[in-house]
C-alpha cells in the first residue's frame, strides 16, 4: 500500500522539554490508522505538528509525497488534511449549516467584490456551498440539525457537526482527535460505522487518536503506540496488544505495581 502520510524523525520541543523525539509514522492510502499512548505521550502534539499549528523542530512530514512541515494550517487543509479537535471547537453561536459551510471556504473563491456586486460566480458558489453543507450534515446523520445553533445541539450531534465541517474541506486524510470522548456506547458503535463509511464510501484515509481501547482495536487496521514522544510499537491490534513494551507503558512495570 502506498503511503499517504509519511512522518520521519519528527522532533518537537518546547523550551527544554522534548515533546516528540524522532517520531516515525506512516498512514497508507485508504487506511484507518490509530495513534495511541498514555496521557501526555504527545499524541495531540503530533496532530498539531501535522496540521501546522506547531512548528516541529526537526524531521519531515509528507502528504502524498509533498513536504508540508512549516506550512500554515490553512494551506495544509487546502492540500487535503482536515481535523477535528479533542475538545469541540465549533463556532457555537452559528448554525450547524454555517459551521459546515466553513469547510467549503478553501474550495471556493468568491471575493468581497463578487459579494457586493452579486456576480454569477458568487451566486453559483453560494448555492453550491449551501447544498454541500446540507449534504454533509445528512452524511453524518443529522440533516435536521441544519438550522440549529451549534452550541445548543446535543453533545453527540456537535461531534457530528465537527465531522461534517472537516469532511466539507474535501480531505484525503482525516485526523480525528479522540472522536469517542464523551460519547455513550451506542454512539461509539455509530462512530465505528461512520469511520468505516468515510473510508469505504469517500475513500478518505483516517488517522485517529483515541483513549477507548475497545474502539481503537475494533476500528483500526494499523496502530502506532506513542510513549514519551517516541514510537514504542506498531502493527495491527493483535500485535500491539501483546507487545510487552505497550503493556509496560500502559500498566507500568511489575516492580512499579508493587
Amino acid at each position: 500500500m502506498d503511503a499517504l502520510l509519511e512522518v520521519n524523525g519528527l522532533n518537537l520541543s518546547f523550551g527544554g522539554l522534548q515533546v516528540l523525539n524522532g517520531l516515525d509514522l506512516t498512514v497508507g492510502k485508504g487506511a484507518i490508522a490509530s495513534l495511541i499512548g498514555p496521557n501526555g505521550a504527545g499524541k495531540t502534539s503530533v496532530f498539531n505538528c501535522l496540521t501546522g499549528f506547531y512548528r516541529p523542530s526537526g524531521g519531515s512530514i509528507r502528504l502524498a509525497g509533498r513536504r508540508i512541515n512549516g506550512l500554515a494550517p490553512y494551506r495544509i487543509t487546502k492540500l487535503g488534511m482536515a481535523r477535528t479537535f479533542q475538545n469541540l471547537r465549533l463556532f457555537r453561536e452559528l448554525s450547524a449549516a454555517e459551521n459546515v459551510m466553513a469547510g467549503r471556504h478553501c474550495r471556493t473563491g468568491a471575493g468581497a467584490l463578487d459579494a457586493i456586486l452579486g456576480t454569477p460566480r458568487h451566486r453559483r458558489e453560494e448555492r453550491a456551498i449551501r447544498a454541500a453543507a446540507e449534504r454533509w450534515l445528512a452524511f453524518v446523520g443529522i440533516p435536521e440539525a441544519s438550522e440549529q445553533m451549534a452550541g445548543t445541539l446535543p453533545y453527540g450531534h456537535q461531534r457530528r457537526v465537527e465531522w461534517a465541517r472537516a469532511l466539507a474541506t474535501e480531505p484525503t486524510l482525516l485526523l480525528l482527535d479522540e472522536p469517542g470522548a464523551g460519547l455513550n456506547s451506542a454512539e461509539k458503535g455509530e462512530l465505528v460505522g461512520l469511520v468505516r463509511r468515510v473510508r469505504d464510501e469517500l475513500g478518505i484515509s483516517v488517522l485517529l487518536i483515541e483513549h477507548d481501547m475497545g474502539l481503537v482495536m475494533q476500528v483500526s487496521e494499523h496502530i502506532t503506540v506513542l510513549d514519551y514522544g517516541r514510537k514504542i510499537a506498531e502493527g495491527d491490534a493483535m500485535a500491539v496488544q501483546s507487545n510487552p513494551r505497550v503493556i509496560e507503558a500502559y500498566l507500568g512495570r511489575e516492580e512499579d505495581a508493587l
Partner: protein, 315 residues
C-alpha cells in the same frame, strides 16, 4: 419569495418587507420637499454617520476586531478629495477611485502589523494610528497644516452642480442605502462568513482552511473604503476640512454608534448612527448640558442593553 432564493442566502425579504422598504425610501426621498435646511443638515449628517458606522461595523461587528482610529480612514478620503481637486486640479470624481486605493493602502498599513495582536493591544495600536494620521495631516504642507484645506470645489454631475444642502441630503442618503446593501451582501457571503468564523474561533477557522490574516485584512480594507468614500463627499459638502475633524473623539463617536446600536447587526448599527447624530440635536435647547444628558443616556442604555439597542442575537 421562493425557496431557492432563501437557500442561496440572498435577502429573503417578503414582498411586504420589500414594500415597506420602498415606502420608507420614498418618504426619505420626499423629505427635502418640505423640510427646512436645519433638518436637511441634521439628516444629511445622520446618513453620513450611517455610512461610517456601517464601515466600522465590518471591522468591529463582522470581524470582531477593535478599531479606535477609524476616523483616520475618513480623513484619508476627505484629504484625498481635497488634494486631488485643489492641489492637482483634477475632477472630484477622480478622487473616488484614488481614495479607494489610498484607503486600501491605509487598511493594509494598519491591518498588516496588527494581525497577530489581541483586542486590547489592537486598541492601542489603532488608537495610535488614528493619532498619527491626524498629526501628519496637521504638519504636512500638502494637507494645509493646522488650518487644513479650504475652498474645495463642489462637483457637478450630468450638468447639475452639487451645491445645495438638498443635493447632499440625496448623496448621503444614497451612500447610506448603498452602504446598507453592501453590508448586507457582504454579511451573507463567503467573506462575511469567514469573518464570523475568525471572530468565533480563530484556530478552528484556520484548521478549516481559512487564511485568517487575509480575512482580517479584508475587513480593515473594506471598512476603510466605506469611510474613504464618505470622506470624499464630506469634503465636497463642507468645501473645507481641517485635522481636528478627524480626532480621537470622532473615532470614538463612530465606534459608539456601532456598539450602541448593536455591533454586527445592520439595523442596530443604523439605529446607533441615528442616535449619535440626532440625540445631541434634540437636547440643543439645554446648551452645554446636552452632552452630559447624552452621556448619561448612553450609560443607561449600556447598563440595561449591554449588547446594544438592537443586538445581533435579537432574532
Amino acid at each position: 419569495m421562493s425557496e431557492a432564493a432563501v437557500r442561496i442566502g440572498r435577502p429573503s425579504w417578503s414582498i411586504r418587507r420589500a414594500a415597506g422598504v420602498a415606502v420608507l425610501l420614498a418618504a426619505l426621498a420626499a423629505v427635502p420637499s418640505f423640510a427646512n435646511n436645519y433638518y436637511l443638515e441634521v439628516l444629511s449628517e445622520a446618513w453620513f454617520y450611517v455610512l461610517l458606522c456601517l464601515g466600522l461595523n465590518i471591522v468591529v461587528g463582522f470581524a470582531g476586531l477593535l478599531d479606535l482610529g477609524y476616523a483616520a480612514f475618513f480623513a484619508v478620503g476627505a484629504y484625498t478629495a481635497g488634494i486631488v481637486t485643489l492641489r492637482l486640479g483634477l475632477s472630484f470624481w477622480l478622487s473616488l477611485p484614488i481614495s479607494v486605493a489610498m484607503a486600501s493602502i491605509a487598511g493594509v498599513v494598519i491591518g498588516g502589523p496588527t494581525l497577530r495582536l489581541r483586542s486590547d493591544y489592537l486598541a492601542i495600536v489603532t488608537l495610535g494610528f488614528g493619532e498619527m494620521v491626524r498629526i501628519s495631516v496637521r504638519n504636512l504642507a500638502v494637507t494645509g497644516g493646522a488650518s487644513g484645506l479650504v475652498g474645495i470645489k463642489r462637483p457637478s454631475i450630468f450638468g447639475y452642480h452639487l451645491d445645495s444642502i438638498g443635493a447632499y441630503y440625496y448623496i448621503f442618503l444614497l451612500l447610506a442605502v448603498l452602504g446598507v446593501a453592501g453590508s448586507h451582501r457582504l454579511e451573507n457571503s463567503r467573506i462575511g462568513r469567514a469573518w464570523k468564523y475568525v471572530r468565533s474561533d480563530e484556530d478552528a477557522a484556520r484548521a478549516m482552511g481559512i487564511n485568517h490574516a487575509m480575512v482580517k485584512l479584508a475587513a480593515y480594507i473594506l471598512g476603510a473604503i466605506f469611510a474613504a468614500i464618505g470622506g470624499c463627499f464630506y469634503a465636497a459638502k463642507m468645501t473645507a476640512i481641517s485635522p481636528e475633524t478627524f480626532s480621537f473623539n470622532q473615532s470614538l463617536l463612530i465606534l459608539l454608534g456601532v456598539v450602541l446600536g448593536g455591533r454586527g447587526k445592520i439595523p442596530g448599527v443604523i439605529l446607533g448612527a441615528l442616535v449619535i447624530v440626532i440625540f445631541p440635536e434634540l437636547f440643543r435647547d439645554i446648551g452645554s448640558m446636552r452632552m452630559l444628558v447624552f452621556a448619561i443616556s448612553l450609560l443607561l442604555i449600556m447598563l440595561f442593553r449591554p449588547a446594544g439597542i438592537w443586538p445581533e442575537k435579537w432574532r
